[in-house]
Amino acid sequence: MPDEIKTLSSQLAQDPDSLVFLRLGELLRHKGQLDTAHRVALTGLERHPHLPDAHDLYARILADRHDYERAFDEWDMALRIAPDHVGALKGLAFLYFKVGDVQQAAAHLEAAQRVAPDDPGVAQALALARGEGGAEPIAPAAQPMEEARVFAGLEGAQEGLLLLDASGRVLGGALKDPAGRDVTDAVAAYLAGVSQEAARTVKLLGLGKWTGLAAEGNLGHVHLAPPSSDALLLVVRDRAVPMGRLAIIAQRAALAARRWLEAHA
């Protein structure tokens, strides 16, 4: 394998537009050289932005690095380019498993199986999702989740995600300021009652239910969402994360929070 890596690296150096970066990135990934694999995949993606395999490779490396949000985006992009991309379908199924959305995971695996009926990996994962063959289904709703795992698998679960009840009590997640200090309790205290106030404001205006509150700060952005009528979710990121992306992150976190709240009702 090291020889093959050397050979492929040499080929890529000679022809930077070559598609050998796909094989090279995968080999490096398998060897656990994730930083190098990441560089190779990213450079390849910059040269071939419309190649679904490039997005798939990059997503797999991101997933190995536990950067699930960006992995989701890359697999999602691969599917937009090639709706039948088996790697992307399997990848998204994996991520849906991670957040406990077994239904979506199974739907993606079924789509993958329609495209690749002989893929044993797909069949095995699908059986797992359906709870067949004695295997336990990966279903957070069926398996009580620990409180600390409310945001399991989500980026920033212990520093930028917070789930509160109506009184400002912390239900899950944690928050750190840019200096690394734990500010969970202080922020939770200030946010107590925000959900009700937002609800009153939109009711006064006749705007239906409130669905989110996005705020831009000098040093970072926050997004608040109501996963239920008496709970509040807070997502905090630095200014490098655009507001639109933050809204997507918040949507995913709200889904995880909603499931957790339902399981603990």
Partner: protein, 119 residues
């Protein structure tokens, strides 16, 4: 507040010209009192200003505690519309009430421009 009262109307004009904006107002962040308003009929200015100021205070404190600094712009999203707010350094909230399909980026820009006028 540094701008003369005549400038307030002009600042609000900037915002209400945007398609999908149902009204705009200037609110004292400290006490939630209406400073100036251009609202469509049916919107209760005094009640809205009080709620917007209260929300702004909670949000500012939470954001400062979280270390993300002072709020520059916030956007309360609802099923049938939105409330968009820019706090000014002088203690005024520039507020817009909008339809759900409004161009948020454009409203944000006009709110920021109006905030410069108001000071």
């Amino acid at each position: 507040m540094t701008a003369p009262a005549a400038a307030y109307g002009k600042a609000l004009d900037l915002i209400t010209r945007v398609r999908g904006v149902r009204g705009a107002m200037l609110v004292s962040a400290e006490d939630g009192i209406v400073v100036a308003e251009q609202l469509m009929e049916g919107i209760k200015g005094p009640a809205l200003s009080a709620l917007a100021a209260s929300l702004a205070t909670r949000l500012r404190r939470a954001m400062e505690a979280a270390g993300v600094g002072a709020s520059v712009f916030w956007h309360l999203q609802a099923e049938q519309g939105a409330l968009l707010v820019v706090p000014t350094p002088g203690g005024t909230l520039v507020v817009a009430v909008a339809e759900p399909d409004v161009n948020v980026g454009l409203v944000r820009l006009e709110l920021l421009r109006a905030a410069e006028v108001v000071g």
